[in-house]
């Protein structure tokens, strides 16, 4: 995500990838349509991803705990019954689809922990080098950036990018580099929601103006050259001129954001000083509150949130102990075989789902000019392995977006001929990215996404 600290240029540019390198381009755009005060007919289209590590409890059929603690319901279709794990999602049943059997084909042979690097990318980690790809949220962000102050918000409980094979971010830029995630809620608030955010407005303005001067000069130079060319070459250069124009417009939009007051919002319910290692529930909910606020004020339309890192790293491993008094780390629980381990894992999955239910509940309550946020926001919730590190049959729940053409209310089970990326294609299409494919997709999921 963009940051506007008064970094020196070198630090600033060396940062991890395009999003950092291009804050004054992709960052902010006004919404002329909304300046008039009349609501647009078209809804704002948004997407959001919430990840939990280490998979979920999936006792086998026949296990005595199967009835209670299997993450997925027992039977597919519209008439499924939640187990205890997801029953907290019952109020949103008609705005929710459960997706079973999906996984990234290239990750199936990998350990679930490593597959975590590929949840939103479908990158290839099988071979001799680390070959990751752009993540789906960043594809959407590039498309939607022109509407909002920021192209996307990349969040996690741990911050930063982690390291290859054990990342702490869900988002990868178009060069497949990890985008640093943010986790300190007060800083997030000050940076993105406070007026003037981060760097001083004057400095930012100077930065934008320098950028514009360059573009103006290149534009002038290009036009001069174009005048000298024959028709075909002039047409070819026209492409470049058009791109210069659009960059210039983007800079103008970015400048205009500086003067534009933020949409008023109520922050009385925000508690930004919850420590993740003390009060996990409070911390997760505060993050979800910030995310809702971000959507509500149309700060951005794309967010990712990695609630915990794989393999017992980071704060989230202690969540079961802090929240439920289970004297084991989340990762340990996911490996356990002692008696009662399904109860521990199932209870934790249930607790985590309850925090997610809170997020849905907020999205389903808070409205913008198009109605409930949830109806225009797709939220994909899930993980990258089912039971212990088995990188197949990811636990996945896709909620929201009823006004974007999504059809909900059922638990769909797929076999392994359907790659997980088909979900991404559907989500990209739903936010207006006209693509027929993402990574190794073979289509979309017609049961959920209207054609």
């Amino acid at each position: 995500m963009t940051s506007f600290n008064p970094l020196d240029r070198r630090t600033f540019l060396r940062g991890a990838g395009v999003s950092v390198a291009l804050p004054w381009l992709e960052a902010m755009t006004p919404r002329p349509e909304r300046e008039t005060g009349t609501p647009r007919r078209e809804p704002m289209r948004r997407m959001c991803f919430v990840y939990f590590p280490n998979g979920a409890a999936m006792p086998k059929e026949g296990d005595e705990k199967w009835g209670h603690w299997r993450w997925f319901p027992h039977a597919a279709g519209r008439d499924y019954e939640f187990t205890k794990v997801l029953e907290c999602l019952a109020p949103f049943r008609e705005k929710l689809s459960l997706l079973g059997g999906l996984s990234h084909p290239l990750s199936r042979q990998l350990l679930g922990h490593l597959a975590g690097d590929t949840w939103l990318t479908a990158g290839d980690m099988r071979g001799d080098v680390y070959k990751n790809r752009v993540s789906v949220d960043q594809v959407a962000a590039r498309h939607l950036a022109k509407h909002t102050r920021y192209p996307s918000l990349v969040l996690s409980t741990d911050g930063g990018v982690g390291y290859k094979s054990r990342v702490s971010t869900l988002s990868f830029d178009h060069s497949a580099r990890p985008i640093p995630s943010e986790h300190r809620q007060r800083l997030i608030f000050e940076r993105y929601f406070a007026p003037g955010g981060g760097a001083s407005t004057a400095e930012r303005r100077a930065q934008l103006q320098r950028g514009r001067k360059i573009v103006d000069l290149v534009l002038e130079d290009s036009k001069r050259l174009q005048g000298k060319l024959g028709k075909h070459d002039a047409d070819k250069l026209g492409e470049y001129l058009a791109s210069l124009d659009s960059v210039e417009q983007q800079i103008r939009r970015n400048e205009s954001w500086l003067d534009k007051p933020r949409k008023p919002f109520d922050k009385s319910h925000l508690d930004l000083d919850v420590a993740a290692n003390v009060d996990p529930k409070g911390y997760l909910r505060a993050m979800f509150d910030l995310m809702v606020l971000g959507f509500q004020t149309d700060l951005t339309r794309v967010m990712t949130y990695m609630t915990g890192r794989e393999d017992g790293m980071g704060f989230a491993d202690k969540f079961p102990e802090r929240a439920l008094g289970i004297k084991r780390g989340h990762h340990t629980i996911s490996h356990d075989q002692h008696e009662g381990h399904w109860d521990q894992w199932g209870r934790y999955d249930q607790w985590h789902a309850q925090q997610f239910a809170y997020f849905l509940e907020r999205l389903n309550t808070v409205e913008d000019e198009h109605g409930k946020l949830l109806d225009t926001t797709m939220v994909l919730y899930g993980s990258c392995c089912s039971t212990t590190h088995n990188a197949r049959n990811y636990p996945l729940a896709l909620a929201g977006g009823n006004k974007l053409g999504l059809k909900h209310g059922a638990y769909h089970k797929y076999d392994e001929s359907t790659p997980f990326c088909n979900v991404f294609v559907g989500m990209l299409n739903a936010v207006g990215v006209k693509t027929e494919s993402f990574a190794d997709s073979t289509g979309t999921l017609p049961e959920v996404f209207s054609a």
């Binding site: 940062g15 395009v18 291009l22 350990l111 741990d158 982690g162 130079d221 290009s222 393999d311």
Partner: protein, 1084 residues
């Protein structure tokens, strides 16, 4: 060259006219174009006429002449009528034929049924194809129709045939129409202004700034033209995204090139190795899963950089630097008095998780969060030849073949046998994090390390195999065992078969222990411990291979490899959870320094280009943030029982950034010598120099003034003078004059000399022109010196840029790069074999050009470009060392020519088996210039329901496929070319049998020629299809050189080139000379 190889099927209506030889042409009359069917382009009659009527100079015969071979009067573009002489004789009557009354009815009768409204076989539709041939596409369509009729392929044998008169009428009409169309469309063959490709952009910036960053890496991929080239002006788009990238990349490059402020602080660490050398000193030790740390007793760390550190800070840095050999077998390295001995590396298994371990052994400095993130760096290795260390009794190694030494008895426990000590889990002591459940030890907190101690008494010195009896666990649970004994530990992650997972207990061999007689103990456990019921310790007999290997006398082993030379390959990487993401850098260096007289070997790299950990990752995990810098002994061996020539490493030094000069030359190249008292005047000088280099042409004062004015307007925004100028330079690097090849201005008829220099440089170097070329262009001498310049350029190292870019796209090496080989089936296909296969092809093409060999060398050759690793993979002995060199090969070794090279064969396999159709299509496209039509939609796969399908060879399966009428028409013309390769496996090795069946590579090509195997095919291509191959190569090189695909109207030019190439004996450089001196290249 034989003529009329298919005379039996030559259309009767088009007999070749007598060949006219111009008197000036001192060549035997037998020379003629011999294009086997199916043909592209004008009918052979026309082509022959055009070519022969020309007075072609013979200057192409080597050695290179000093003048261009295109006399102005012979330039077809210059003819008043624009018409090549002789062309008009082809069909005096054709123009008078009326399409609607005379031709259309014939086509309706003979063609439209399969190529009309209802059916479009082979994706061809004629009924709505514009009969006026007004567009290039329509003309192309008619041209292939003519080729098919001329060659007799259409109408198909089982369809109604034209009468001779009808055929003549159709052919005449087509011939005349195409000829007229070619004339009309000559003006359409234009080069569109090209944006630089990713590679060109990188090279241009590197050359301009003197900074070796792979700048283009982040740019969006360039699209390919129909002929497969990315440097095509039409397909090279520029989006606003490009501009974003260009500006940021330029900024990054300029910041690296110019020096503002003081010389940056240099980090320098030196690590020296030696048994016991580090005792009492401070250094790091990094543990973690599967780690193989070197004891800090055996190395020292010196912190030598610029930083002024307190004693405490220095010690803190020392603690962050450890030495690891993760991925290395304990028997392949040893700390000795003189340093570290590394035996030859055994490549890693290409399967996760082991594929990330690095070859065994590999030695790395592990530097945690104490390294710079950018800049050039140097790694200095002090090393010499080594020796095989003497036998070490205290030893723990993995097994070469994991075969249990003890069987399971019927009761589900180990079978009791003499010479084996068996102990139950219940007898273990000092247990940690485990519980005993029904006689089986199981972990409590699975991810946490578990431990159980087993004590035992050995009756004699010797080597003992350790086997474990344990409950099975699926791979997803990461079942693992750490065996610790004899002062070492060995981590294994178990991969149990589906069958084993069904059993109650399974046996896993853990490793081999070397121990003296007496009382010992070993520890079992580690994180994700799988648990165990019993452990068995079995003495191995002296004749066991592993015992033989471990007890071989070191002097004898050292002596056995003394004629071999160790080498160093340097790597940089990031530690990952189960290995490292790494990349080698710099060329490998052979180590000839004798033992006791070490020398220093330097390896240079650029941190930004290598997989270093993400800067500022924010991660504080104990095992994150490690930059790995290391090496392995690159005299690779294939088996663990070979020592290879040992390497002795005494010290490794890391220095970054590497700054031999300050300010760097990149800075002084921009901020040239000059008087800064008059700053605007000085700046004008700086800008003019940079502008001319960046824009690759002279700039006028007004242009310099504009940039100077820009500088004046922004200079106040910047703290330093250099930063203000840098901003201007960034703008210059976003100008279309830098990013595009601007060749023509409006109303300009001919290419300027400067534009020609640019075009030539981007052709033969894939880079901007150097000073010499610019100078020749500036002084107007370039056109006279084209031929010597071609030679100079091809001899320059930058010709590699051309060879790599062109070969990659022409030969579709991307398919090889993307291919995932099934390593269960082809176990020794390692990443090093893969890398060397690509290098083989590049070196081969480079040699053909560099030595100006016959282009038919590309089809078959009596040499192969090999290094030791690849030669061994192919089964060729006697090639030593990592460098590529020509190696003589005999025909029965099947390694001559591009067709026998791994890069082609692997790229056109399915990863497990060869893929004859892919291989055939490639031959037709790339070698014969005759791409088959794409498969129709809903094409059925090979039908596995055919009786006995499973047992068929692929060739038989294809034959079954061809029996399907909907497939036959096309595949009869494709498959035979692929069948000829059947004895070359998916990894390019000779394989006379597959799945127990003898491979049959005998086939009959579409023209009726019978060939058996690749040699037969190569002979056929060289003797029967030589001109088709030559034409295809010319066309591809021409398209690449011009940055546009070959146009229908280029045919006559291509014909002339083919003619000239033929006269020059089909030399590789004659193709280049021909293209560069052609009117298309020099003028249009």
């Amino acid at each position: 060259m034989a003529m009329g190889t298919r005379s039996g099927r030559e259309p009767a209506a088009a007999p070749p006219p007598p060949i006219r030889i111009t008197p000036a042409l001192a060549t035997p009359p037998a020379i003629a174009f011999n294009r086997g069917p199916p043909m592209r382009g004008l009918p052979s009659i026309v082509r022959r006429e055009i070519a022969l009527a020309l007075t072609v100079s013979t200057v192409f015969a080597a050695p290179a002449p000093a003048t261009a071979p295109w006399p102005a009067s012979q330039d077809p573009g210059k003819h008043e009528s624009g018409q090549a002489p002789g062309a008009a004789v082809a069909s005096p009557t054709g123009a008078a034929i009326d399409f609607h009354s005379q031709i259309r009815p014939l086509l309706e009768n003979h063609c439209y049924r399969c190529h009309g409204e209802r059916k479009q076989k082979a994706d061809v539709r004629l009924d709505d194809l514009d009969h006026t041939m007004a567009t290039g596409a329509a003309a192309e369509g008619w041209r292939s129709a003519l080729d098919m009729i001329n060659s007799g392929e259409m109408p198909p044998e089982d369809a109604r045939q034209f009468s001779d008169a009808e055929r003549r009428l159709v052919v005449d009409w087509l011939t005349a129409g195409l000829e007229a169309a070619a004339e009309r469309q000559k003006g359409d063959r234009r080069v569109v202004m090209r944006r630089l490709t990713r590679a060109q952009y990188s090279h241009a910036l590197q050359d301009l700034l003197g900074v070796a960053i792979d700048f283009g890496r982040d740019l969006p991929a360039d699209a390919k033209s129909e002929m497969g080239f990315t440097n095509n002006g039409e397909v090279l788009q520029a989006s606003s995204l490009h501009l974003d990238y260009y500006r940021d990349i330029a900024r990054r490059g300029i910041e690296q090139a110019i020096a503002t402020g003081d010389r940056p602080e240099v980090t320098r660490y030196r690590v020296e190795f030696g048994k016991g050398k580090g005792k009492g000193m401070v250094a790091g030790k990094t543990g973690g899963y599967q780690s193989v740390p070197l004891s800090p007793d055996d190395f020292t760390v010196e912190v030598l950089g610029d930083a002024q550190l307190t004693e405490e800070e220095r010690l803190a840095v020392q603690r962050r630097i450890s030495v690891g050999l993760r991925g290395s077998g304990q028997d392949r390295f040893r700390a000795v008095d003189e340093g570290m001995v590394l035996l030859s590396a055994v490549p890693h298994r290409e399967k996760v998780p082991k594929s990330w371990q690095g070859p065994s052994p590999n030695l790395k400095l592990e530097m945690q969060r104490c390294w710079p993130e950018q800049g050039d760096f140097v790694m200095r290795v002090r090393a010499s030849r080594g020796y095989v260390p003497p036998l070490r009794m205290q030893l723990l190694v993995a097994l070469d073949e994991p075969v249990p030494a003890v069987k399971m008895a019927d009761d589900g426990f180990f079978q009791r046998q003499k010479g084996t000590i068996i102990t139950g889990g219940d007898k273990s002591t000092r247990r940690k994090n485990v519980r005993l459940e029904g006689g089986t030890i199981l972990p409590v907190d699975v991810p946490k390390p578990a431990q159980a101690l087993i004590s035992f008494t050995l009756p004699a010195d010797g080597f003992y195999q350790v086997d474990l009896l344990h409950p099975p666990q699926p791979p997803s649970a990461m079942p693992s065992v750490r065996l610790s004994a004899a002062g070492h530990h060995l981590d294994q992650r178990l991969e149990l078969s589906a069958e084993q997972l069904e059993q109650e207990r399974v046996i896993t061999p853990l490793g081999v222990l070397g121990l003296r007689r007496g009382r010992h103990s070993l520890k079992l456990g580690g994180p994700f411990f799988v648990g165990f019921t019993e452990i068995a310790i079995t003495r191995l007999p002296t004749e066991h291979p592993i015992v033989q290997r471990l007890t071989a006398r070191s002097e004898r082993q050292t002596d056995a490899v003394k004629h071999l030379v160790p080498a160093i390959r340097a790597l940089v990487g990031t530690r990952t959870d189960d290995g490292m993401d790494y990349q080698a850098f710099g060329a490998p260096q052979e180590v000839h320094a004798p033992l006791g007289e070490p020398a220093t070997y330097e390896f240079f790299g650029r941190l930004e280009n290598l997989p270093i950990p993400a800067p500022d990752s924010g991660d504080t995990e104990i095992l994150s943030g490690f930059l790995l810098l290391g090496l392995w002994n690159d005299h690779l061996v294939k088996h663990r029982d070979e020592t290879g020539p040992p390497l002795l490493v005494e010290a490794i030094e890391f220095e970054a950034p590497y700054l031999p000069h300050w300010p760097p030359q990149s800075h002084t190249d921009i901020f040239v010598e000059g008087d800064r008292a008059d700053l605007p005047a000085y700046t004008r000088k700086v800008l003019r120099k940079f502008l001319e280099r960046a824009f690759r042409q002279a700039v006028d004062d007004a242009e310099v003034d504009r940039y100077l004015a820009f500088w004046q307007s922004i200079r106040a925004d910047f703290d330093t003078y250099e930063d203000g100028v840098a901003e201007v330079l960034i703008a210059i690097l976003c100008s279309p004059r830098f990013l595009f090849l601007v060749e023509f201005e409006e109303h300009q008829e001919e290419l300027s000399d400067t534009a020609l220099a640019n075009r030539l440089a981007f052709f033969l170097w894939n880079s901007p022109p150097d000073g010499k070329l610019r100078e020749l262009a500036r002084t107007g001498r370039l056109r006279d010196e084209l031929l010597p310049q071609i030679d100079r350029m091809l001899e320059d190292d930058k010709a590699w840029r051309f060879v790599r870019a062109f070969s990659y796209e022409w030969l579709r090496l991307d398919r090889h790069a993307e291919m995932t080989i099934n390593v269960d089936r082809h176990k020794d296909y390692t990443r090093f074999v893969k890398r060397d296969m690509a290098e083989e092809t590049y070196h081969f093409v480079h040699r053909a050009l560099h030595e100006d060999l016959s282009m038919f060398t590309l089809i078959d050759s009596d040499f192969a470009m090999l290094n030791q690793n690849l030669a061994e993979f192919y089964g060729i002995d006697g090639v030593m060392g990592a460098h590529f060199r020509p190696v003589p090969v005999t025909p029965d070794q099947r390694r001559g020519g591009l067709l026998a090279q791994g890069a082609f064969l692997v790229g056109h396999s399915d990863g497990s088996e060869p893929h004859p159709i892919k291989r055939a299509v490639w031959i037709k496209e790339k070698f014969l210039g005759d791409p088959p039509p794409p498969p129709p939609p809903n094409v059925p796969d090979l039908d596995p329901d055919t009786p006995g399908f499973e047992k068929m060879t692929l060739k038989q399966q294809l034959e079954a496929h061809r029996d399907n009428p909907s497939c036959r028409d096309c595949h009869a013309g494709i498959d035979p070319f692929g069948v000829a390769f059947e004895r070359l496996s998916a990894v390019g090795r000779f394989e006379p049998e597959r799945r127990g069946l003898t491979i049959d590579a005998a086939t009959t090509l579409p023209d009726g020629t019978a060939v058996d195997g690749i040699q037969g095919l190569q002979r056929y291509l060289q003797t029967e299809r030589g001109d088709d191959f030559a034409r295809a190569l010319i066309e591809h090189l021409f398209a690449y050189a011009m940055g546009r695909d070959v146009h229908f109207a280029d045919e006559s030019d291509i014909d002339q080139m083919l003619w000239q190439v033929k006269l020059a004996g089909y030399r590789m450089r004659s193709v280049i000379r021909c293209i560069v001196t052609s009117p298309s290249f020099t003028r249009r």
